[in-house]
């Protein structure tokens, strides 16, 4: 829940950009965008940007850097001349809606509410009367299409579930093996691997156990086998 609230307070890169530009009392032009680039980048570095929004911030950051670099090296022409003016346009458009939103907010808070009439109390029909057009076929089709729409979601869940279970399993296997032998080679661990995914899972398990300081790993040279030993 607290995570959601945080997201709600962050209005995104355009808000930050707008704040920076208005903070310096500039109007929205390419020149002013170049001016605030450093401030923007510093903010992104310092602030705790939610990971989902990071991509959006980086997109704006790269556009700013492009504008700034063109300001510094005007002789360097790149094909997409449009980018700079597009960001300025986008920001101007965003500002229009931000201004409009202030009006809407004050209207919303002013309390000039209009109430509709209260719903009339429906006379409950006796017994269950389904709509005429709802046949069993209609129902099964509706359910089928719903399942189809959810299919990618289920597929994703299934796939990630499988993998997680395997890493845990592999970790347990490795830990048990190490307790017994106190030293083994990575090749021993993945000897019976049936696929690349299997090897990756084993490697992830090894990394996790290393992180937990249960095992140590050493590798003589690149691509040589890895020696896994019990941590003391």
């Amino acid at each position: 829940m607290p995570f959601e609230i945080k997201l709600e307070q962050f209005s995104g890169p355009l808000q930050l950009l707008l704040d920076l530009i208005e903070g310096e009392k500039l109007s929205i032009t390419e020149v002013s965008l170049a001016r605030v680039t450093e401030g923007f980048l510093k903010h992104v570095d310092a602030q705790d940007v939610p990971p989902e929004e990071l991509a959006d911030f980086l997109i704006v950051a790269t556009k700013l850097l492009l504008i700034k670099s063109r300001a510094i090296l005007p002789q360097l022409q790149l094909e997409e001349e449009e980018d700079g003016s597009r960001l300025a346009d986008q920001l101007r458009m965003y500002k229009q809606f931000v201004d409009a939103s202030r009006t809407i907010e004050s209207m919303y808070l002013s309390g000039n509410v209009m109430f509709p009439r209260e719903r009339t109390i429906l006379v409950k029909a006796r017994g269950f009367v389904p709509p005429v057009s709802v046949t069993p076929t209609v129902l099964s089709e509706a359910f089928r299409s719903l399942l189809k729409r959810l299919e990618p979601f289920f597929a994703l869940r299934r796939a990630s579930l499988e993998r997680v279970v395997s890493v845990q399993e592999r970790m347990t296997e490795l830990r048990d093996a190490i307790v017994e032998r106190s030293r083994m080679m990575f090749r021993d661990m993945v000897g019976g691997a049936t696929s690349k995914v299997d090897v990756v899972v084993s490697f992830l398990a090894l990394l996790e156990l290393m992180k937990q300081r249960i095992v140590k790993a050493a590798q003589g040279d690149a691509f040589q086998d890895i020696v896994i030993s019990k941590s003391e």
């Binding site: 307070q9 209005s11 355009l14 409009a100 009006t103 919303y108 509410v113 109430f115």
Partner: protein
């Protein structure tokens, strides 16, 4: 008289009534119906009259005069909704002025992902989702409840509505930005 029938029907129905439904019920031409509606609006939507008419997304509803909000709220013992955060207000504004609008278009204007905010607004009943056959993805409009909460007779009463709603430059910019995004993703 057409207006008499209309007034009675609207009073009897607590929910908004679609203009198309009214047309079928009263069996009249579009002009006659729209004229009657305009007539009712002209008479009702004045400061002194206690009942007002609102129109949203092709539906009409009778509501209380906004100036009487406090008294009516006390009568209905209704509490006004909670506050809106800044991202919510911005998103609502965009949907209000540019609705029906798709999620990607909203995100182009705000420059940031809106999934959670849209879901919150849907849950709170401030916006509505509908399927758009042409655009093959859901479109969003503000809900009648939201329009009523603003004290407006129609969403077009928003300041500068015509300008922001129809604005060609905005439409073009959104389209160009969308092309840009799809080009970027195809380059990846």
């Amino acid at each position: 008289m057409m207006t008499t029938a209309l007034e009675s029907i609207l009073f009897a129905s607590a929910k908004p009534v679609a203009i198309s439904t009214l047309k079928k019920m009263l069996d009249v031409s579009d002009e006659v119906l729209l004229e009657a509606i305009a007539d009712i609006k002209g008479r009702f939507n004045v400061e002194s009259f206690g009942i007002h008419v609102i129109e949203h997304e092709g539906k009409i509803q009778l509501v209380t005069n906004p100036s009487q909000a406090e008294r009516v709220a006390a009568l209905l013992k209704e509490e006004t909704d909670g506050e809106l955060t800044r991202p919510s207000v911005e998103t609502l504004t965009i949907i209000a002025y540019r609705g029906p609008i798709t999620k990607p278009e909203i995100e182009q204007i705000r420059g940031v992902n809106c999934t959670l905010i849209i879901r919150n607004l849907l849950v709170r009943g401030l916006i509505e989702e509908a399927d758009d056959v042409e655009r093959l993805q859901p479109v969003y409009t503000v809900s009648p409840d939201f329009v009523r909460h603003l004290g407006l007779h129609s969403i077009s009463e928003l300041p500068d509505y015509g300008d922001l709603h129809e604005n060609e430059k905005i439409t073009q910019l959104i389209e160009r930005l969308q092309d840009e995004t799809s080009n970027e993703s195809s380059c990846l």
